[in-house]
């Protein structure tokens, strides 16, 4: 079914009901407003911020011996948990990203006008690379003696951030262009996160890991460039249809 954005009977704005809106803005007898302003919201939030602990912790590496055997350079103290947390974040993001692209592929194949078919093969390629990045990160976690099945705090928070992206792509009512925008948001965040991961690995003396991350980062750069281009094309195509 046609999903391109069209002019229609959108009822959400006040221009659709000017007479009713005028009545809404008239004063009502008996309505007593609470005095003050929104500063109380800040006070409540501040009190809870002061009283709240963190979302969770990074699990300690369970197999330090295994890490040494695998050749990873020793990580100790605070540094180790930061790297494990951030690798855990990327691992979770790439895993969800694979599913995001799988859902997007279905949408592209189902699109009525067939305009998405021109980049289907590339989307399949990106999807495979997302899965490969996930497996790379699993391996890195294992080399550090950490648990790749654990959900780290950064993975958890990024998961919360990303909830809307999957909702958009899997919604049968959204178009390829709208889905591409969600994927663009994912790729933008992903690119910066890989940059940080490369820096972190270098900072912590994990040269081999940094090299592998750099390659993944470069592939993600390509993903971003492609998605950005497809999104622009889809937007322009819609404007021509209109």
């Amino acid at each position: 079914m046609q999903k391109a954005t069209q002019m229609g009977k959108n009822r959400t704005g006040i221009q659709m009901s000017p007479a009713d809106t005028k009545k809404m803005l008239q004063e009502a007898k008996g309505a007593v407003f609470t005095p003050g302003n929104d500063s109380g919201i800040m006070e409540v939030r501040t009190a809870y911020i002061h009283a709240s602990g963190p979302v969770g912790t990074v699990p300690p590496p369970g197999t330090a011996k295994g890490a040494l055997k695998a050749g990873a350079q020793a990580l100790t103290g605070k540094k180790a948990h930061v790297l494990i947390d951030r690798i855990g974040e990327r691992l979770a993001f790439e895993r969800t990203g694979t599913r995001l692209y799988e859902a997007f592929l279905t949408k592209c194949r189902a699109e009525a006008d067939g305009s998405a078919k021109e980049f289907l093969a590339q989307v399949e390629h990106i999807c495979a690379e997302e899965a490969a990045h996930f497996r790379l990160l699993v391996e890195c976690m294992q080399n550090l003696g950490a648990d790749p099945t654990a959900q780290t705090p950064a993975a958890n928070v990024t998961g919360v951030e990303s909830m809307g992206l999957m909702q958009v792509v899997t919604d049968p009512m959204t178009s390829v262009a709208q889905s591409l925008h969600a994927i663009l948001v994912a790729e933008l965040a992903d690119n910066d996160a890989w940059d940080e991961l490369v820096l972190l690995a270098e900072e912590l003396g994990q040269a081999e890991m940094a090299q592998q991350f750099t390659q993944a980062r470069d592939e993600e750069r390509q993903h971003l460039a492609s998605v950005r281009q497809w999104h622009q094309q889809a937007t322009l195509r819609e404007s021509q249809v209109a």
Partner: protein, 388 residues
């Protein structure tokens, strides 16, 4: 519609679903009329109550055969509930759905209050109405100040966003929540249908708020949902107390089915979306099937005519439309009423028990006051005013 039991509807064994059939395309949050969403939410509440009642009955029913009849009808209600509730799209934020729930509470309760033949029950509805009216205002403030969204995108200018009876003052002692029930032998059938309809709507609202409150990260939102969920608990207590507890289980079952027929009939009469109207028509026929099924059981178990309980004909549909003028009139005249036992009294006569209960709950601050302090709705959110 002809005499209520003359229309047989769809027989139970022909009420079949597939998952694909049950899970259809949702309504459009942007393009559908706000009252299509209102009817979806209302009918979800009606179906949820049908199931909750049936489970309660089954748990108190030693008759194995009757338990099976309850289970058979209940299974159909479960299918219907899913099909109806799944019409809400995933693009509704929880707060947007909440605004829809309050629109139901305001406009459906106002419609019922005006048609209610019993003056005391009409007063009960008007009393509850002004409290839900205030909830709309508080949630709209939260939506604006938390998400930067305009509640009127959902309301479509049909329903006002103004303070009602302040939520901070709605917390009452349980003794001030129980009302007088109608008399099953004297009340008009319409009064019974009204009571079940509004109780069902309020019950689903309480369940919804108590379930979705923890989905928010923001402590202000978490507190507000906790607070308003407690008023909905009070409202369920109020509305279930107006129903005669002397009705037999079978009598109550029959009335539940009649309420479903009545409310689907109301939806059929007013639904502007043809695709959704077809669902209301289908389910009206299903509910007529349930009603006839239960009527036969009623005859067998109670040895009396179901028409002693049911209305001869369906009353006029519940009006599903803007109730702005009526609500404003009630607001001007009754905002300062308070509940004292089963009666409604001037503010000064409120009980010490309710004041003490409320003071204790609000001792660390009032979420509903905090979120809406100085809040006045304007189109496009209050940031429009700040920018001006």
């Amino acid at each position: 519609m002809a005499s209520l039991l003359e229309t047989k509807g769809t027989a139970l064994e022909r009420q079949n679903f597939t998952w694909r059939d049950m899970v259809q395309q949702p309504i459009s949050k942007l393009d559908d009329d706000a009252y299509t969403r209102v009817m979806v939410i209302l009918m979800n509440g009606i179906e949820m109550e049908a199931m909750r009642f049936s489970h309660s009955f089954a748990r108190m029913c030693p008759d194995r055969e009757l338990q099976l009849h309850l289970a058979k009808v209940r299974r159909k209600e479960a299918h219907q509930q899913a099909m109806v509730n799944w019409l809400l799209g995933a693009d509704h934020s929880t707060l947007e759905t909440t605004i829809g729930y309050e629109q139901v509470a305001i406009d459906i309760t106002a419609a019922v209050a005006q048609k209610e033949p019993d003056p005391y029950l009409a007063q009960v509805y008007r009393y509850g109405l002004l409290e839900d009216f205030d909830h709309m205002y508080r949630y709209s403030a939260l939506m604006d100040r938390l998400e930067g969204r305009d509640a009127n995108n959902i309301l479509q200018s049909y329903t006002d966003i103004l303070p009602g009876r302040p939520t901070i003052e709605e917390h009452r002692d349980p003794a001030d929540e129980l009302r007088r029930h109608y008399d099953r032998s004297k009340a008009q059938p319409l009064s019974k249908l009204h009571a079940l309809t509004i109780m069902a709507a309020e019950q689903q609202t309480q369940n919804f708020y108590q379930n979705v409150g923890p989905q928010y990260a923001d402590p202000v939102a978490r507190q507000l949902y906790a607070e308003i969920a407690h008023i909905e608990e009070q409202h369920v207590t109020q509305y279930e107390s107006i129903i005669d507890p002397n009705e037999t289980w079978m009598e109550k079952w029959l009335l539940h089915e009649a309420t479903e027929v009545y409310t689907y009939h109301s939806c059929v009469a007013q639904e502007p979306n043809a695709r959704i109207k077809a669902i209301w028509e289908r389910f009206l026929d299903y509910e007529l099937g349930h009603l006839n099924y239960v009527a036969e059981l009623f005859k067998k178990h109670e040895k009396r005519d179901p028409m002693e309980v049911l209305p001869q004909k369906l009353p006029d549909p519940i009006t599903v439309a803007s109730q702005r003028e009526f609500v404003r009139k009630v607001l001007a005249q009754e905002v300062d009423l308070r509940a004292k036992g089963a009666d409604f009294v001037p503010k000064a006569q409120e009980t010490e028990a309710s004041r003490a209960y409320r003071d204790q709950l609000n001792a660390d601050g009032s979420p509903s006051d905090t979120v809406a302090a100085g809040y006045k709705w304007m189109p496009g959110t209050e940031l429009q005013r700040k920018a001006a």
